[in-house]
Symmetry: C2
Subunit: 356 residues, 2 copies
């Protein structure tokens, strides 16, 4: 078990050694650690190696010139200039919030970025400024459009954060596939089958084999099959792709650059880097601040008072399970599995920093 601060400082050191500024390194490490705290280790310490290797391969820009290339009073297209995703994304969300201060809402589509970690982090940045936050991103193409066997889309997540008054905020943060790719990898390592509705084989037949992606299979969108609205997941996933990549001029769909160095840079590109989309809305663009918060409290009370199904203890508000994990993990410490610990030790050794 590690303390939050130990891993935060270590992660910061890694990125400083890679050449990032102190400020950028602090920014990046906060996002990695937020994933661990919220119980999403698939986006936490395990990903440091990916970025380290992309850096060694010269595939990320450590001193990017992140800038607005096109704008209106409520929108901006941001060019991340090949930055680490967390930096391009944090800066983009800040721009969205600056726009919102003046225009009520601010919307940013970002190109030239890389994997940005958990979507929820950026949506939640809005909360401290009494704003509603939104965040989306495209990702490595593994998911097939409805009726297709081609891997065209990422697990393209959507996050929405809404402040309340006396209650903690509403935070939705979800992939537009039934499960995250990480869960397939875990099942595969354990030699287990998965539920139908997650993946299909290379011809489009339903499959319960988590290793099918290695044999030309693909992941499916939320809904899982036609009978259960898989085309709705396809709509959501493509909406994320368009907002993140067509709006900004990033590489949409199958052209999304790999987030790992062991996959080659694609020969064909249709834009710059990975794309994200961010939104910020001042709550007082809708209602006076106190009225908004008190109505949101009433909303939360209403949903919390829903009758639980048989065997369920209580009904949760989006964001509640992650917040409870965060409190527990902050207290108990962050577990890092041996294989990842070994990776981090090797990185530490190569960079000449300490990691125990």
């Amino acid at each position: 078990m590690y303390t939050y601060n130990y891993l935060l400082d270590f992660t910061s050191e890694v990125f400083k050694k890679m050449g990032c500024s102190t400020q950028d390194s602090a920014m990046i490490s906060k996002v990695f650690l937020a994933a661990e705290l919220r119980g999403l280790p698939s986006h936490g310490m395990i990903r440091i190696k990916d970025y380290y290797q992309l850096w060694k391969a010269g595939r990320i820009n450590i001193s990017p010139n992140i800038r607005i290339v096109h704008e209106t009073p409520s929108t901006a297209v941001v060019d991340g200039d090949g930055a680490i995703g967390m930096i391009a994304a944090t800066r983009s969300m800040e721009i969205a919030m600056e726009k919102a201060e003046k225009s009520g809402t601010g919307w940013v589509s970002t190109r030239g970025s890389n994997h940005f970690g958990i979507a929820g982090y950026y949506a939640m940045m809005a909360l401290e400024r009494d704003m509603i936050g939104m965040s989306m991103t495209n990702a490595n193409p593994l998911v097939a459009p409805t009726g297709s066997v081609s891997r065209m889309m990422g697990t393209n997540p959507i996050a929405v954060a809404v402040p309340a008054g006396k209650y903690p905020p509403y935070v939705a943060d979800f992939a537009t596939t039934p499960i995250a790719r990480g869960k397939l990898a875990v099942a595969e390592k354990k030699g287990e089958k998965v539920a139908y509705g997650y993946v299909q084989d290379k011809e489009g037949n339903p499959s319960n084999d988590p290793a099918i992606l290695k044999e030309g299979g693909s992941m499916l969108t939320l809904g899982g099959d036609l009978e259960h609205g898989i085309h709705k997941g396809y709509c959501l996933s493509t909406m994320v792709d368009i907002f993140s990549c067509v709006f900004s001029g990033a590489n949409f769909g199958p052209f999304c650059p790999p987030s790992v160095a062991y996959l080659p840079v694609l020969e064909e590109k249709v834009g710059e880097g990975t794309g994200h989309f961010f939104g910020a809305m001042r709550i007082d663009a809708w209602q006076p601040k106190e009225a908004f918060k008190s109505q949101m409290d009433k909303w939360i009370e209403t949903y919390k008072s829903a009758k639980p199904a048989k065997g369920i203890e209580r009904v949760m508000i989006p964001g509640e399970p992650e917040r409870e994990k965060e409190e527990r993990i902050m207290k108990e410490g962050i577990p890092v599995i041996p294989a990842i610990k070994d990776d981090l030790k090797e990185i530490a050794r190569e960079l000449g920093i300490g990691f125990e």
Copy 2:
């Protein structure tokens, strides 16, 4: 079979007889007929009776004072003043587009409205102005939060329309439940069971009985069960509820007013009427117009070139199936089943207009 124009004129006449202005009546009838053309008759002619009965019960305002009650450069809260949903929604979407002209984007949350028909209609209004359109609404509470048996949410649809260049636009329009309620009613009438994942019984047990809603059952959100990401559908549905109702001050969740006169007005209310949410973004807020359209064309070509699954003829872009239906139905005519025809004849007789 009826022609589009015959039903359009008839519908317009009905609302004129109810006291709506010529302009409002034309607006309303266009939305009803759009549902028929797009192959969603559950939101078409069948609903005229609902509005007619709400009008007879004095539950809608025929001469509403629809107005902005709160605004910023990119947002407005619109009070529909108890209007027919199609009028409040069309006016709200127009306001969103006016805001977008000046600020790049415009966002409107509307209260004091009623059932607005198909969400896609309003999102598509943006297309002719070279804007991206969005539309959402809450609806009669029939759907349970994840882990609950209480009917808290409607089938809360989301629609997104994006213009392209040489290709027809991208139009996603989907409920945040696996199926529409209408499909349950059809299965019930036929005495058929439905797939698991649509409904649950009053204790929260999985059910395949389409009539279970009459016995305290509830509908489920997109995902259908925990294993397939039902909580993601819950996130989507609640996001629609918050954007439509907390932002505007409408009746959220279980307080949504019934869209049919045979259900009583709820005793408790937490806001005004039904709530909607609309968005408009100028495409040139993101890219120069021609660049945006040509990139969107490339996006469409990329997805159209996805390899079809075994037994599938071709991969579709969101909006394509509905557009093909529209072309076919416009040519072949609009079927109206005998029971609905009888209802319309009775309305026509009572209002003293013709319907054959």
